[in-house]
Each structure stands twice: as structure tokens, then as C-alpha cells.
Symmetry: C2
């Protein structure tokens, strides 16, 4: 059975690549203009799964999605690490005997964050003007539509394939340790009775705390005393409440500790103002696709 999967952006965007990587191509994928619409489609059951970026290793956390996870009734059922590789893409030459070189390119379109991640390339080719575009994949689509020999896009190899572009220069990003962590969200709340045997899981939890000194320490202590590792911790301001915070943590646990983690969350709920378990999911690894 095909799943209906939604992501933010157009085909060839890194969210689309992550969605394809996680679910495989034999599903129905829809790109939406905003993260908000992903959550709306999931809550309305107009889509089965959403793929949302949480954090980029270079750019930092994507605050909007943390806030949407806090406010909306969805479950996290998986995580996925997508390596981010930027390539210079050009129109296929109409005359196969004529080769376009980097010296022909005068302007390169991409998302400003992608352009920022390729500073060394632009320093080494200072005759090329970087030009902002809404999205890396949209930049690729634009370059494909123009059929010119003096412009290029910086985008993924998947965008090159989708829009029929050639890769002129590979891997122009300054830092190869560039990845984005995605969550797979759904409206169903599949609280599994038993987890996959002998597997490391993560549990993602959002909570707010009373204004009592040491309350964060006490929460972290619940997991530390059980010898469980926190693989992520982040405080985010609560909108409209200056200097009040919502905390976001990922706890790693072994599948045989599933009963334990439930007990610890019950302990947490006695010490937090609000608490929301986003989900339990197997710990993913960064696949190096170089």
C-alpha cells in the first residue's frame, strides 16, 4: 500500500530527498509551501506521514518545527539523517560537442543558506555572482527553464536528475560534515507494547517547568540516575511569555528498558507544568553517502 507523504518544498528539495530515502520511491509524495501545512495535513488525516527538518549540523535548530511539535497533536515515529551535499548544476548543452566550463558561468542561484555554505567556492571563482532563490530545488528548476549557458544553480544531485541538469562541479560546500536531522511524524499515536528486540531507541519529550530553582536539574536527574543518556537538550523561548522556556530532550534507551522509560516519564510528569511525549523511535545513524 502506498503511503501519502508530505514535505516542505518542491521535488528535489532536501526534505523530499529525505522522504524518498526514508520511505522509498513507491509512495505518493506532495511538497507543501509551509511547515504549518504539513502539520495541518497530518492532523486532518489528509496525509499519512510528514517529513520535517529539526536541525542542521551547520545552521542550527529549526525553531519553527520545535514550536509546531509543541502545539500540534502529532507523533514522532522515526528520525532520519540526510547528508547535505551541494553541487553546481547547469543546463544540458543543446550541442553535445560544446562543453560549458565553470569559466562560462556568471551567476549562480540557490537558497541563501546554501550559498553561505559554499563561501570558499565563491572566493575561488570571484567572477561568479551568488544570487538568492527561495529554495535550492526551485533554483535548479529555474536554471532548467532558462536554458542559458551563463547561469547555474547550487542544489542536490537529485534536483539535477529531476530537472534534467548536468553536474558541473561536485561538492562545493565548505564543510563536508553537513547533515540535517528529520522527524517522521504521523497523526496516529502508535504506543508500541513491545519494541524491536535488542535495539537502541530514542524518546523525544517536550516539557515546561515551574519557576522553582533546580527543577531542570531534578528532571535530568531522573534519567541520569537510571543511567540513561540525553542525546539532545534544548531550551526554546515560549512565544508571548518573555523569558519562559519550553525544554526539548531526547533520551536514549535500550528496548529492554521500555517499561523503565515509562516509569521515568511518569516521574517527570509530577515535576513538570506540561509534558508531552513526542514518540519512541529507533536511533538512526548518519549514512555517509560520499
Amino acid at each position: 500500500m502506498k503511503h501519502r507523504i508530505v514535505y516542505q518544498g518542491i521535488p528535489g528539495a532536501f526534505s523530499h530527498i529525505a522522504a524518498l530515502g526514508h520511505f522509498g520511491a513507491d509512495n505518493t509524495f506532495s511538497g507543501l509551501p509551509t511547515f504549518h501545512e504539513i502539520f495541518a495535513r497530518i492532523e486532518n488525516r489528509q496525509a499519512d506521514y510528514g517529513v520535517i527538518p529539526l536541525e542542521n549540523s551547520l545552521a542550527g535548530s529549526i525553531g519553527e518545527n520545535y514550536d509546531l511539535l509543541y502545539k500540534n497533536d502529532v507523533s514522532v515515529i522515526d528520525e532520519y539523517y540526510q547528508p547535505i551535499r551541494h553541487h553546481v548544476l547547469i543546463s544540458k548543452s543543446p550541442h553535445s560537442d560544446k562543453t560549458i566550463g565553470i569559466q562560462n558561468i556568471q551567476r549562480i542561484y540557490s537558497h541563501p543558506k546554501a550559498l553561505e555554505q559554499c563561501i570558499k567556492f565563491f572566493k575561488n571563482h570571484d567572477y561568479i555572482a551568488p544570487q538568492a532563490y527561495n529554495d535550492t530545488a526551485e533554483a535548479a528548476e529555474y536554471v532548467a527553464s532558462e536554458q542559458r549557458t551563463d547561469i547555474a544553480a547550487i542544489a542536490s544531485k537529485e534536483a539535477a536528475e529531476l530537472y534534467g541538469l548536468d553536474i558541473l562541479v561536485r561538492d562545493v560546500q565548505d564543510n563536508i560534515n553537513n547533515w540535517t536531522r528529520f522527524f517522521i511524524i504521523t497523526s496516529v499515536h502508535p504506543e508500541p507494547d513491545i519494541l524491536v528486540h535488542d535495539t537502541v531507541y530514542k524518546c523525544s519529550i517536550i516539557f515546561t517547568l515551574p519557576h522553582i530553582p533546580g527543577s531542570l536539574y531534578d528532571i535530568i536527574g531522573i534519567f541520569a540516575n537510571a543511567h540513561l543518556n540525553l542525546s539532545k537538550i534544548e531550551s526554546r523561548p515560549i512565544h508571548g511569555k518573555a523569558f519562559e522556556y519550553v525544554f526539548y530532550i531526547d533520551v536514549e534507551f535500550h528496548s529492554h528498558d521500555y517499561a523503565l522509560i515509562h516509569k521515568l516519564i511518569r516521574l517527570c510528569s509530577e515535576m513538570t507544568n506540561e509534558i508531552k511525549v513526542l514518540g519512541y523511535y529507533p536511533k538512526a545513524h548518519i549514512k555517509n553517502n560520499f
Copy 2:
């Protein structure tokens, strides 16, 4: 004496506005293309102070600057909260009797993040095409240079003043709780002997931990047991080391506890792999400029 102050972007960018707000106009301000160059100018003593964004209340943390603070030898001497307000800016009408209305506008230029923060405005004016630009202030400069009646920029009122534009629609951002937190950095390491009397300070600390369960708990406990509040906590991946983290915390303390905070940091340094005190600075407040 005038200070040499560097920020990322061009005049009218929010970093420039924050720099002006913190230091006052009677200084020398230089916009630089990248955050990396701000740190280089500070370390080389080619500038006295740098103004860098750390976190936006909606978009999230700016990972690159956390990483640059971790890697470079600078001190944080102040924080500054800049409210972010987006306005639709148009060219001044050459004929003062002819008024441009929003119905005349066909295209609006701005940074993609700013465009994303004005979704309701674009839904209510769906005949207007949003168009990405490198920066809000650069979009304002571009609109000013074009002198057309059918294009506009979304940028700050300071950008309107600098580039001679009119404000057509004020406050088109979806969420008014939109602010960016900036750090003021310098190469001097002014470890003050005495802090300003009777003032709440923050101390920002970056550290990495040994792979021992509960090590984060122990660090947080040092401050919790002294009844000091953490106003910020964040874990960031260390580049090139998959699943190793650097932790970033802000500790609030009263100026009369300055000796205590030194003692606590000495305790921390015995339990961390690496530790770096970024600086001590008075706690700032979000100024509501509506």
C-alpha cells in the same frame, strides 16, 4: 572615542540595527559578508567589537555562531535583544500627487526567512509574488535602485530611512513575538574584578563532557545546588565527530555572587573535557518598540 564595530550584512540589516541600538550612532560601523570575517576582524584587532546573532525567537538558533564562539578566541561582553518588525517598503513616488497602493504591487523582495514570517500577508494579497533576496536590507536597496511602482521589499523601517523608501504597510509579520538575541564580542578579555552593584548578570559557558553517564547532570547540579538559574541550555553536534556534543549554557547570577560563580566554574572544569567561559555580562531585556 569612536569604536570600530563590525556586523554581518549591509546597512539596514537587523544586525546593523542591533549594533546601532547597542552602541549609538556615533561610532564606525562596517558590514561584512560573513560571520567568519567578523571573528577574524576581532581576533586581528582590526575592529573593536562585533555584533553577532545567536538566536531568533521564531527561526531558532544560529548554529554557525555557536560554532565560531567555540573555535575562536573572543569574549562576550554584552547581550542585546532586537525586536524584528517587517514592513512593506516602496519607492518614493516621483509625483507627490500620485499614490501607490498595495493593489499596484506585483512582486515583493526579501530574505526567504522574512518572507516565511509574513505568510498571512501573502495569503491576503495572493496577487503579489514573494521573491527571495540575499538579505532584507539588500532587497530594500534593490527596490530603491529600480524606482518602479510595482515592486516592494519587506525590511526594517531603518532600511526604509537609509535607502529613501516609503513604508506602505507596517508590521506584516505573522507573529509579533519576533526578536533576535545578539552577542557583543571583543578580543579583549576583560575579566572584571567587581561587577556593577546589585545587578543580575549572565555567564555564558561552552563545554564538552567525558562519555560518562550522568556527566551533564553533575554539571547542571553544580549550579542547581547553588540555587542559580540556567536561562539557556543547548547541545550542538561537534563537526567531524558524529554524535559527540558541545554544550552551551547561560547561568544567571547576582553581582554579589561573582566570587561564587568563579568557584562553581572551577568545579565544572574538573568535570568537563574542555570548558570555555565566553564572558560575564548584565542580563538584557527585550525592549518592546511597538
